[in-house]
């Protein structure tokens, strides 16, 4: 069998045909529904992230795809074959866990070659393949060490090499970077992404870190309480979140209660704000207006979409300062505004200062009211 997984993919990647197709997948643990009728299509060669907080079902979904935990109902098709009831060993995937799960009593080489030995390949072929893989993950001279002698980042690379050794069609990564410290995490992010591009292997990564998902994924699947909230490219998910949950989970967003006045006008107390669109909302409906902190601008003078507010708190966050703004009055509005470092230097804002905040119409997004009233 040729080592096609290691060869750089010369041909352009296949368009998102259905490599992996999930239909109506549900999983219950007793009365608790971990997955509620999930539908998802993943194309060949795609890098997809399952993003959500702990307990949202992302790992359950990954383990169901792997066959490690069987779904309660629904089907999983891999390359057009129904594998819903196939054992893990009959599915074609490699997996990397947060804990690395390296075999501590075996050398790095033996770990990487673990799946190859079982394929009854000749010793020489296995050795060559192991060498190739270790070079691929940047550990060519660590073959004879034991896992405990490696750093966390190195161990995760060995786990990656082991998962790729049998040239699987699907690579599953279960929070692979969460146990690493921040600097190593950043470097490995890039390495994994580059490796995946080179090999063209379809990859699913589970993560709770939105920054990780935004920087690595071609498509992000945002999950919450066992359902998919949104599937889209990082740009789509960030700039056009479909739900308030997605908006607040991917990046920060503050929400202001409002009432629809017209197709492009929302009333907040005695103020009116122009918005780009109010898709599907009726006039008079209660809504939540969402705004990312970095979209707020502090300006001089009144005007359209400008609110008079007061700085109530300033939080120093390194490259920028996050200001909490409140309006005066009986029902004060509160929102967050990120002020770049250079703006802070020029203007020297202080808590208690009165400011004029501009809320650009293009950045305001309308969501159903959270109170539901």
């Amino acid at each position: 069998m040729p080592n096609h997984a290691v060869m750089p993919s010369a041909a352009p990647r296949a368009p998102a045909g259905s490599f992996l197709s999930i239909r109506g997948l549900s999983k219950s643990f007793g009365p608790f529904q971990a997955l509620k009728s999930i539908d998802l299509e993943i194309g060949e060669g795609e890098f997809v992230c399952f993003l959500g907080s702990s307990g949202c079902g992302k790992t359950t979904l990954l383990r169901a795809i792997a066959g490690l935990d069987r779904q309660t109902s629904g089907t999983i098709m891999l390359r057009g074959l129904d594998v819903s009831n196939a054992p893990p060993s009959a599915r074609d995937f490699g997996i990397v866990f947060q804990s690395y799960a390296l075999f501590p009593n075996l050398t790095v080489a033996a770990n990487v070659g673990y799946g190859l030995v079982n394929q009854r390949k000749p010793r020489v072929a296995i050795d060559a393949r192991v060498k190739e893989l270790l070079a691929l993950v940047g550990l060519p001279d660590q073959a004879m060490k034991y896992p405990a002698q490696l750093s966390g980042g190195q161990q995760q690379r060995v786990a990656l090499a082991r998962a790729l050794a049998t040239s699987p069609g699907l690579l599953l990564l279960d929070e692979p970077l969460s146990a690493l410290d921040a600097r190593v995490r950043l470097r490995l992010r890039e390495e994994i992404r580059a490796l995946q591009r080179r090999l063209g292997v379809t990859t699913i990564m589970v993560t709770h870190d939105q920054e990780e998902a935004l920087s690595m994924a071609e498509r992000i699947v945002v999950m919450n309480h066992g359902v998919i909230e949104q599937v889209g490219t990082p740009e789509e998910v960030y700039a056009r979140p479909k739900t308030a949950f997605v908006a607040d989970f991917v990046g920060r967003m503050t929400f202001l209660p409002g009432v629809i006045e017209s197709e492009t006008l929302v009333r907040l107390g005695d103020q009116r704000l122009r918005v780009a669109e109010t898709p599907g909302f009726a006039t008079g409906e209660l809504v939540a207006l969402g705004l990312r902190p970095e979209a707020v601008r502090l300006v001089d003078g009144a005007g359209e979409n400008r609110l008079a507010m007061r700085i109530t708190a300033l939080e120093y966050l390194g490259s920028f300062v996050r200001a909490t703004l409140s309006s005066d009055g009986a029902a004060p509005l509160t929102l967050l505004a990120d002020l770049p470092f250079n703006v802070m230097q020029d203007r020297a804002y202080i808590p208690g200062q009165a400011v004029m905040a501009e809320l650009p119409a293009g950045a305001l997004r309308v969501f159903p009211s959270r109170t539901g009233a």
Partner: protein, 560 residues
């Protein structure tokens, strides 16, 4: 899109795991559940095997001598618990809460009774306070043969068991509680009663029940030093072996099961709470130097340790004496067992054989069983059932299990009856008797191993049995040898379970001790007990050496 069903992969691994689990469940049912069931059913049958309801029980209550034994057992066991637990608590306190010198040595000394058959201390007592004893006058005319001897000997035998529980309980202390108490200016005595004692109260309860159960079900000591003083365990022996009254033996067995089950239930509750007592953020307690306290505790430990060593040393010394107490010159004559017992050294060799077989087969069964329960996925119900069976022997005293085996193996319908009196039954019974502790050791070890190893193997299309052989077993080697040594030492020293099961060609050393003592050859009995003690200790020392020297080389991967 045309949907093509994947070729129906037969899940070979799941099939193998299920088959192995079924086999294991069958073995454990045979080893543990069926003998217990035999005991239960025998107690409600007459000698012809007909169901008679509770007739046997009413006959039991109507027999004054049997009821007297029940009462004797209860008060003797309670008394031993009342004596041993406070002493063991103070000893454990010295080991964990002081900076007394030689704490490791005192711990080792306190463990010595575990390496001897329970009746060794009874033999020593006979030498010290018996009819020919050099301290007989200390008893002011009372006889050591009876409750006095039983209580003292049982106290020695139970001491390490109580100590282990209490040391564990006292080690689980949050140092910050003591710092807070001190910062608030609390008196030392008040700290003891408001922090130390409540912290260890679950351990204390557990220790009381364990000691009570050990004493009430122990057979060796009352047999050797009980004289005319009857207890439940000796009753069971007399009913079965003496009078062939199996039904009454079964009733006595069931009565013996009660305190053990109670102790088991209490222990489960206690363990649940003990864990909750110590939060993950607790700081271990570091005792401060306190010369006066440490000196007092040292004196106490010297006394207790001295008694324990003395009990052991007395029997060993006596085994080399020509003719107690008239000729104290040393000799090896007492080790010429052929003069005292037709089996001669054969009994010792049989014991070694039995212990080795128990260690080999028991360890293999326990570890593979624990692996199947802990690491495979299919059949959760079956795995739960196997785990339950594995925990069951903890609640069953050896004597009761032995009775169950007698009824099971001798049942007319049972084709396994051909094994009665053979090593097969002795090994099976001993494995079952000590199964739980070995199982817990194995499960604890397996829980420490990353649960994703099997997932990774599945993804690499490597079946779980390959991963078991290449990874899990090598990693677990220290725990595996722990289990083997535990089974070996206990198989060597056990009396109560096997006393009903040995045959003419399979008499064990521990049973030979009972017989030689019965015939009045106490010195030979002491000699045989000495052989067992030295063998058990040698195996333990060998284990420690092996752990240090040999395994260290195989376990290079543990080093960073």
């Amino acid at each position: 899109m045309s949907v093509e069903a994947a070729p129906r992969h037969r899940d070979r691994e799941a099939l193998v795991a299920t088959a192995l689990l079924l086999g294991l469940a069958l073995v454990l049912v045979l080893l543990i559940a069926v003998p217990l069931w035999s005991l239960l059913s025998k107690s409600v049958q007459n000698s012809n095997g007909q169901f008679v309801g509770l007739a046997n029980f009413s006959r039991y209550i109507a027999t004054p001598s049997l009821v007297a034994s029940l009462w004797n057992s209860i008060w003797v066991s309670s008394l031993v618990a009342l004596i041993v637990v406070p002493l063991a608590f103070l000893y454990a306190y010295a080991l964990t809460r002081s900076r007394m010198p030689g704490r490791g040595l005192f711990m080792a000394v306190a463990m010595t009774p575990l390496f001897a058959p329970s009746l060794l201390s009874a033999i020593s007592l006979i030498y010290i306070f018996g009819n020919q004893g050099f301290l007989k006058s200390w008893l002011f005319g009372a006889s050591i043969y009876g409750p006095v001897g039983i209580v003292i000997a049982e106290a020695v035998y139970c001491f390490p068991h109580a100590l282990l529980i209490l040391v564990t309980a006292l080690r689980l202390a949050d140092g910050r509680l003591y710092e807070v108490a001190e910062a608030l200016g609390t008196a030392k005595s008040r700290v003891f009663f408001t922090v130390t004692l409540p912290g260890a109260r679950y351990g204390l309860v557990s220790a009381v029940f364990v000691v009570f159960t050990l004493v009430i079900t122990d057979f060796g000591i009352p047999k050797v030093i009980g004289g005319q003083f009857n207890v439940l365990a000796t009753d069971a022996y007399k009913q079965i072996v003496g009078q062939q009254n199996f039904e009454m033996g079964a009733v006595v067995g069931l009565i013996l099961l009660m305190p053990a089950i109670l102790a088991f239930a209490v222990d489960r509750q206690v363990q649940k709470r003990q864990v909750a007592l110590l939060s993950a953020r607790a700081v271990p307690y570091e005792p401060k130097a306190n010369a006066k306290r440490d000196l007092a505790l040292l004196a106490f430990c010297l006394v207790i340790g001295g008694v324990l060593i003395g009990m052991l040393g007395m029997a060993i010394w006596a085994s080399f004496i020509r003719y107690w107490p008239y000729n104290l010159s040393l000799t090896l004559n007492n080790y010429d067992f052929a003069n005292f017992d037709p089996q001669g050294w054969g009994a010792y060799l049989t014991s070694l054989q039995m212990a080795a077989l128990t260690a080999i087969f028991g360890t293999a069964l326990v570890f593979m069983g624990a692996y199947l329960v802990e690491k495979t996925r299919p059949q959760p119900l079956l795995r739960g059932f196997v785990h339950f069976l594995a925990m069951l022997p903890m609640a069953v005293p050896g004597l009761v299990l032995g009775l169950g085996y007698v009824f099971f193996v001798n049942a007319k319908w049972n084709p396994l009856g051909i094994f009665y009196g053979t090593l097969v039954v002795l090994v099976a019974n001993t494995v079952a008797h000590f199964y739980t502790v070995a199982h817990i050791t194995a499960v604890t070890q397996l829980k420490q191993i990353d649960s994703e190893f099997e997932s990774v193997s599945a993804s690499l299309k490597v079946p779980f049995w390959v991963t078991f052989r290449r990874v899990t077993l090598p990693i677990s080697l220290p725990a595996v040898t722990d289990i083997a040594v535990y089974l070996f030492v206990n198989a060597l020293t056990t009396v109560s379970a096997v006393i009903f099961l040995y045959g003419p060609s399979t008499k064990l050393a521990s049973i030979a001790i009972v017989h030689m003592d019965e015939m009045g050859a106490v010195a030979a009995a002491a000699a045989m007990a000495t052989c067992i003690v030295f063998t058990a200790m040698a195996v333990k020392l060998l284990h420690l050496a092996l752990d240090r020297l040999v395994f260290a080389r195989f376990q290079a991967w543990r080093k960073r």
